[in-house]
Symmetry: C2
Subunit: 200 residues, 2 copies
């Protein structure tokens, strides 16, 4: 059993190291991963399908934290809202990985499976096939924009001269509770409602 | 006039260099900027208010590309939609700068001025003061999530085994035109509509 176990372990360690580098610096390189693991760069490539393969392992790792059970709920909007909330929380834990993951095509089978379930849900509901990706992507715009916002400081606007921006100062003073959560729920409800109004 | 001109020029060059590094690697350091400009790190600090100051110069540079004229349009939803479209285009040109800018508080006066105008617009319209930042932030979630999506490959989901994800394959085949633009417009309309339904 030695060989497969070791390979599996190494993929786990490579993934953990890549994610750690992404969290710290928003980027990773294969030589950096090799240095951290105390191995040759070539050894890393024995375990993964190139740099792209590592990106997919990271995507899979972050996506494991998404609770997909809501996708079994009905009606469809409750299902999508539950998925979106969990999806946002999973990516908010790794905001600096978001740009890289968004610029690499999704190939990880367990991640594609989540999209499959979301697409099936919308088709069963009678959405036009041509609108399915529009709804899913619109939802993701909100989820990922808000996941980044969760990494923002609570005092995101620093006004030193309130006389220059009095209305902004007033609006900021009036915020009660969590600005990021309130904005996310507003935008989420908005996207779902825009989807409801699409022609079947 | 020599001294102010030179200082101004240097701030411009520092900003351009920082933005170039952000575009290439999603990060910058002051020593890296100094090396590229062929000066000592300390010389860079003579011209800017620390690393935070450089982040604000970059924010101002990217934000200069936002057309704020739509904020003078009425009704308010047409004004916000026009601003959001231009805001998205400006940041889509620099997707890798987005996470850094979202995790530093906004201090640049010319950027705060844009928020001031958006806040004033919503208050004039009769929005509850406590809802103003909720609407603006919800709009930004969509704008920045979609700006990142514009940096994504057109074929964002690579399915090698269509039998594993048949509904996703079908939905992807049915996409006509620009997926990113269609999703953005759906989400934008959704947020504006959610805002319309807030109690005054």
């Amino acid at each position: 059993m030695g060989r497969p176990r070791t390979a599996l372990l190494d993929r786990e360690r490579i993934t953990t190291t890549a994610l750690g580098l992404l969290d710290a610096q928003g980027e990773f390189s294969v030589p950096q991963i090799a240095r951290r693991l105390g191995v040759q760069t070539g050894s890393v490539y024995h375990h993964v399908d190139g740099r792209d393969g590592i990106v997919e392992l990271v995507r899979e790792r972050i996506s494991e934290a998404i609770d997909t059970a809501p996708l079994d709920a009905r009606p469809w909007d409750v299902a999508l809202a539950g998925w979106a909330r969990s999806y946002r929380a999973a990516f908010a834990a790794h905001p600096r990985a978001i740009p890289l993951l968004m610029t690499y095509p999704v190939r990880a089978p367990r991640v594609l499976e989540q999209y499959e379930r979301a697409a099936a849900l919308l088709m069963e509901e009678g959405f036009a096939t041509a609108d399915v990706m529009r709804v899913i992507t619109g939802l993701e715009n909100v989820v990922l924009g808000s996941a980044l916002d969760l990494a923002a400081p609570e005092a995101m606007w620093e006004i030193t001269d309130a006389s220059a921006t009095p209305r902004l100062a007033e609006a900021l003073d009036a915020v009660r509770g969590d600005r990021a959560d309130q904005a996310f729920e507003l935008a989420l409800e908005g996207v779902l409602d825009a989807a409801r109004r699409l022609p079947a």
